[in-house]
């Protein structure tokens, strides 16, 4: 296990990069997924169609393929940038489809009567959603959303494999392949790094679940 201790700064950098990917991925897919979720229940048919297509494409495509498209497809159509951002983009496109479905099922868990009452009072679609439906939907959105986010954190390793460089996964590769260190301790360090993110994340989610469950 000396290899972990010796390379602690390297691991720390890796952890930081992974955290960055996850943070951007989290914010991006939450925002995009919520908008898409609203699309899916919208009274405007083309918006519903966009939402549905999005989910069908990105939920059914392996993340690796989505990332290939971002990393190699986007430059071909003239969009250039760092691999880091291509990676984050791919992760957001992919994860937002799952967030969208969690949000949509949360919205559907609120009884239709609530939405009807909101509309009958004269609230428009956006107001009904933000003042009446969403506040009641969070309760059932948080648990599935938690799983989606944990999955996203783990999926960030695939982004790392695309040469973002310096994330936890890349640290593992560098130490074991490039420097020829024994794989077992190196990868144990990598795994520990992910657990450092996912376990507190899971605890935070559990706390959040209890909090929204109490709130009416």
């Amino acid at each position: 296990m000396d290899v972990i201790i010796d390379n602690l700064p390297l691991y720390a950098d890796g952890l930081l990069t992974t955290l960055q990917i996850c943070a951007y991925g989290f914010v991006g897919s939450l925002v995009l997924g919520t908008i898409l979720g609203a699309f899916r229940v919208s009274p405007v048919a083309p918006l519903r169609w966009v939402g549905t297509s999005w989910v069908n494409v990105f939920r059914n495509c392996p993340l690796t393929i989505v990332l290939f498209f971002c990393a190699f497809g986007l430059p071909e159509v003239g969009i250039n940038g760092q691999y880091f951002w291509f990676g984050v983009t791919g992760l957001v496109l992919y994860t937002s489809a799952f967030v969208c479905e969690a949000v949509r099922s949360g919205i559907n868990s609120v009884s239709a009567g609530q939405a009807e009452a909101a509309r009958a009072v004269g609230l428009n679609f956006g107001q009904s959603l933000s003042y009446v439906i969403m506040p009641q939907a969070v309760r059932s959105v948080v648990p599935p959303l938690g799983s989606v986010i944990i999955a996203m954190i783990k999926n960030s390793a695939i982004v790392g494999a695309f040469g973002v460089g310096g994330d936890l996964f890349a640290v593992g590769q560098q130490l074991s392949s490039a420097q020829g260190k024994a794989a077992l301790p190196v990868l144990t360090g990598v795994a520990l790094g992910y657990l450092v993110i996912t376990i507190p994340g899971g605890l935070l989610l559990g706390w959040l679940e209890r909090k929204v469950a109490i709130a009416r």
């Binding site: 009274p43 009567g113 609530q114 009807e116 009452a117 009958a120 009072v121 004269g122 506040p135 009416r216």
Partner: protein, 251 residues
Amino acid sequence: MSTETAAPPMIKATAVNKYFGDLHVLKDIDFEVPRGQVVVVLGPSGSGKSTLCRAINRLEPINSGQIEVDGKPLPAEGKALAALRADVGMVFQQFNLFAHKTILENVTLGPTKVRRASAAEARTLAMELLERVGIANQAEKYPAQLSGGQQQRAAIARALAMKPKVMLFDEPTSALDPEMVQEVLDTMTSLADEGMTMLVVTHEMGFARRAAHRVIFMSDGEIVEDTNPNDFFTDPKSERAKDFLGKILTH
């Protein structure tokens, strides 16, 4: 009298048809509700009463025909429809109070978000209305903490807070325990006495006799009779109405 004839009827439905798939639930419906009138809609289960009521604020879109509220055809989706709904109060069988908001918040939400009233104005109005329906002391509670009758009165206050031109009631007492029916009917009766235009779907024959100016009897998606309550209850013209009254009154 002259102003009454000059102003358009509050609700006017012309040749309205509505289908659920192959099921023809509203068949060539024509009727008017003049301002200030209380119209009770009666009819057996499945005859299309709720659908008719919900069509008036477009919670249920219709397939053909025209519905006008206060002289204006119902708008399609969008801002104009939201504005129309704000002017048409609706009370549901299942109350549908916003479960995550207090009674007071339920009543102030529409005025603040739709009418852009200040929080203070909305609160004053809400407390007045809650006082009027007799549940001012419940203002800070959540819907689940109230009895059914109290919830339905809160729902009436919520609708009234929008200062509606007309109120729609879809079986407002059908989900209530028997001992709570009267308190809700009393609230509705006093509203009727104050001159509110009302369309009420109900099975409460007592309310129909006492408070209604007119009775519309529906069966199988058609308006079979449209007359005053006295004539309807003492001298129904159609077989279907006789049959319906026979069943109701033997209960």
